[in-house]
Amino acid sequence: MNRDDILTVVRKHLAGVLDGVEAASIDPARSMKDYGANSLDIVEVVSASMRELRLKVPRSELSKLTNMDGLVDLLHKVATEKSATP
């Protein structure tokens, strides 16, 4: 799983909770809040993404993130660690 795959999943779930936003047009340097997602929309987008990617990050770590790039990096790091574990 590469970083772009993860970004695609996050974009898809964010577009799913927003009205009239194209997944491909979402800029990962921005925060989901910038696109109008409220705090619990974000909780659902992140958990739906983790479910699809079969990754698990404690919510306490997620709360430090400020934009989607940060989320994608964190998920990518966890995915890499997971695939390295025999």
Binding site: V17, N38, S39, L40, D41, V43, E44, P58, R59, S60, S63
Partner: protein, 247 residues
């Protein structure tokens, strides 16, 4: 000390507003104030109806993290959170104007009202199981009393935060744009306030009986499940990891 709960009166309509300026979590001080304001409201004999509301962003986030932690250590018992009954036992009709998010015990609180209004954009969830413990505050029965049992059970199992818009037509009274929720609740309250208090009390006693019975029926089972699920050592870590802390 600033008030955590405000009470205002206007022509028979009492408005009880959770206003801690944060997440309106049900900590001990909040619960005490909420109970006191509810009592104060209906002890006033001119009061015909009570509207319970929170902030535009958040109605009520349920039990705070510290309180959940104390439940895992056995410091306090879940039954100590005697809030739901305080709203259920109000002798006049109650309306929950849930403009903002409501999760866990916060959603249970709203479902204790006779008339429930949600916002399309806000999210509502029975989040208990996400943190590894079974639902409380009557949620095992209150949710299916309002929504259908099928939908209620799905929400209880999954802990999903569902958008108000997705709950439209599922058993709640109104699902409206966030900005319109409070005005509609007040409008409903004004209609109710035109009626005599004694007749309202009689009707409330009868109409709310099934809801009170549903809540009463939940207590024994929920306490039994809580004793077991809070005693599980994994629950404490799960609360730490999964509790939704808002920015």
């Amino acid at each position: 000390m600033t008030a955590l709960v405000r009470l205002s009166h206007d022509d028979g309509v009492a408005v009880v507003e959770l206003c801690d300026g944060r997440q309106n979590a049900l900590g001990e001080a909040m619960v005490m104030e909420l109970r006191a304001r509810l009592e104060e409201a209906h002890h006033d004999e001119t009061c015909k109806v009570i509207v319970v509301c929170g902030a535009l962003e958040v109605f009520c986030s349920g039990a705070p993290r510290e309180l959940l932690a104390r439940l895992t250590t056995g410091d306090i018992l879940p039954s100590d959170i005697a809030l739901a009954s305080a709203l259920l036992d109000v002798p006049v009709p109650t309306i929950a104007a849930m403009e903002g998010h409501a999760t866990g015990g916060g959603l249970a609180l709203g479902l204790c009202a006779d008339i429930v209004l949600l916002a399309r954009e806000s999210r509502y969830g029975a989040t208990f199981m996400n943190m590894g413990f079974t639902p409380g505050m009557g949620m095992t029965r209150l949710l299916e009393h309002v929504l259908s049992p099928a939908v209620a059970h799905e929400l209880l199992y999954t802990g999903e935060l569902r958008r108000g818009a997705d709950l439209e037509g599922r058993g709640v009274n109104h699902v409206l744009p966030r900005a319109d929720v409070r005005a509609r609740a007040i409008d409903i309250a004004r209609r109710i306030a035109e009626k005599p208090r004694s007749a309202l009390e009689l009707l409330k006693h009868t109409l709310a009986a099934p809801r009170r019975a549903a809540f009463a029926a939940s207590r024994l089972d929920e306490e039994r499940m809580h004793t077991l699920s809070f005693a599980d050592r994994a629950t404490r870590a799960r609360i730490e990891a999964e509790y939704i802390e808002e920015s």
